[in-house]
């Protein structure tokens, strides 16, 4: 666990290296949130960078795929020859909103070629258009410190998961947060608030 008491690789002089896929979308907010999370955890030797080329990906411990437009990000991943590097990536992936659509095995839309990292089907824009975007308090399994204030913007929902995928949050419409091994995928935007608990939880997973 990467905690303040510190028994992980990022508590000492060896830090973790986190990349935020920077092809389009909410990139700088994730960089900011990860820096905040690392600060809370006392992981000073760690590094957070924006990833614009495939060559950087294998050097990372964790990769965030941010929200944005999944059709755009999907096309730019291929345009920049990053697909194979992400599929072969051995670290953890932290995927939010459009990122969740991209890491699924079934995006439900031929315009978005999924990366197949987490065995699940998703429904894009499941709640509707922007006027149906909402904020709510979410219960997340295993998260201490109370409900998580979640921001859903033209969000996707998970409609089916493989047996290996752990569901950690659901609302009446369906599943909104999952974990698989070192990976996490969220329908909402933890990077838009000041609460970095989910970023910290991801860092703990990859620090193990």
């Amino acid at each position: 666990m990467c905690t303040r008491s510190g028994k992980t690789r990022c508590s000492g002089s060896v830090g973790v290296r986190i990349g935020v896929l920077a092809v389009q979308g909410n990139v700088s907010e994730h960089v900011h949130a990860f820096r905040g999370a690392l600060g809370h955890m006392g992981c000073v030797a760690s590094e957070v960078l924006q990833v614009r080329d495939a060559g950087t990906i294998p050097t990372l411990d964790g990769l965030a795929i941010p929200g944005g437009e999944s059709t755009t990000i999907s096309r730019l991943i291929d345009k920049n020859c990053m697909r194979k590097a992400i599929e072969d990536f051995e670290g953890g992936i932290f995927a939010t909103c459009a990122g969740m659509v991209l890491v699924s095995s079934d995006s439900g839309d031929p315009k978005v070629e999924p990366l197949g990292i987490i065995g699940m089907s998703v429904d894009r824009n499941a709640f509707g258009r922007q006027r149906e975007s909402f904020e709510t308090e979410l219960k997340i399994e295993g998260l201490t410190g109370g409900d998580f204030h979640a921001i859903f913007i033209r969000a996707p929902i998970v409609t089916r998961v493989d047996a290996s995928v752990r569901v950690i949050s659901r609302i009446s419409q369906g599943i909104v947060a999952v974990e698989k091994g070192k990976h996490m995928a969220l329908s909402f935007h933890p990077e838009l608030g000041n609460d970095t608990r989910l970023h910290e939880r991801f860092l703990e997973k990859i620090g193990n």
Binding site: Q24, G68, R75, F134, T136, L138, I153, H189
Partner: protein, 298 residues
């Protein structure tokens, strides 16, 4: 199961929506076919219009909100967000677009203003708004009215980037100059630029506008788009520049690629090869006073 308490149309949701567009290209389209081309090229959103700005210039007369039927058809065609334009101050056109479900409204100087005194009170709406601005004061007045996104006005429909550059430099330069000013000096500046002091302090704290800032109004080539990004834009709107060029599909892709790789001249060069003719340009200095769009609204 107990229904969760959901909150809609908050400031955070509006600004968050705008934030998802960052690093992207928003393209003007006039029908479903063009919308499909834009989406396939990697546009993050489309602006649904009856005419692109270059044609609005040619047509003259009063330019109004598009036929909702056109906008709905485009909404049914693509899965990316669809935006629509309303006249400055025309809150009923905005109510109409909100009711049909557009994802963002552009209160735009490209259409003929409906109110020469007031802009729309945008905080009253669930749908987020984007507004044009030429300088920091104008940008902050729009944010104060509830705009979730700002774009430079530039001079739409000209294919001439000079005004977009002027407006982006004005906004970014004024924010840079806040560094080193104390609170009193900033309050003084706020009075001078007719903007709320609190928003000026916020810009100083953040080193940028508190909402996403795109560039618009004259972007016609991949290099234009990349230049606006290097000047500090979070993304670009391309109006007439795509569907008035000789090869819209290629131009659309090229501008998307240039925005993504805006700091990489080799990538911009690769994107710029063999695009054919860009849209025909207009010299902004030869426009008659009544043809200048950027002075509408203040």
């Amino acid at each position: 199961m107990k229904l969760e308490e959901l909150r809609f149309g908050t400031e955070l949701l509006k600004r968050g929506f705008a934030s998802m567009q960052k690093g992207g290209v928003i393209m003007d389209v006039v029908n479903a076919d063009q919308a499909r081309i834009a989406e396939e090229a990697g546009a993050v959103a489309v602006m649904a219009l009856e005419r692109v700005p270059a044609d609005i210039r040619k047509a003259g007369g009063v330019a109004r909100m598009a036929d909702p039927g056109i906008i709905v058809e485009i909404m049914e065609t693509v899965s990316i967000p669809v935006m629509g334009k309303v006249r400055i101050g025309h809150f009923v056109e905005a109510q109409v677009l909100e009711s049909i479900g557009v994802d963002m409204i552009d209160e735009s100087e490209v259409l003929t203003p409906a109110d020469e005194q007031y802009h729309i009170e945008k905080t009253k709406f669930t749908v987020p708004f984007v507004c044009g601005a030429r300088d920091l004061g104008e940008a902050l007045r729009r944010i104060n009215e509830g705009a979730a996104m700002v774009r430079t006005k530039g001079e739409a429909g000209t294919g001439n980037v000079v005004e977009a550059v002027r407006h982006m430099r004005a906004i970014m330069g004024t924010i840079r100059a806040l560094k080193g000013k104390d609170r009193q000096e900033m309050a003084d500046l706020a009075r001078e630029i007719e903007a709320p002091a609190e928003l000026v302090y916020e810009c100083a704290r953040m080193g940028r506008l508190p909402v996403v800032n795109f560039s618009a109004g004259g972007i016609a080539t991949p290099s234009d788009a990349a230049m606006m990004m290097q000047l500090g834009a979070d993304g670009v709107f391309v109006g007439s520049g795509i569907f008035k060029s000789s090869q819209p599909e290629r131009m659309a892709r090229a501008i998307v690629d240039a925005v993504q790789n805006f700091e990489d001249p080799a990538a911009i060069a690769a994107a710029s090869r063999g695009l054919g003719e860009a849209m025909p340009g207009l010299d902004v200095h030869t426009l008659r006073e009544d043809e200048v769009l950027r002075f509408r609204g203040r």
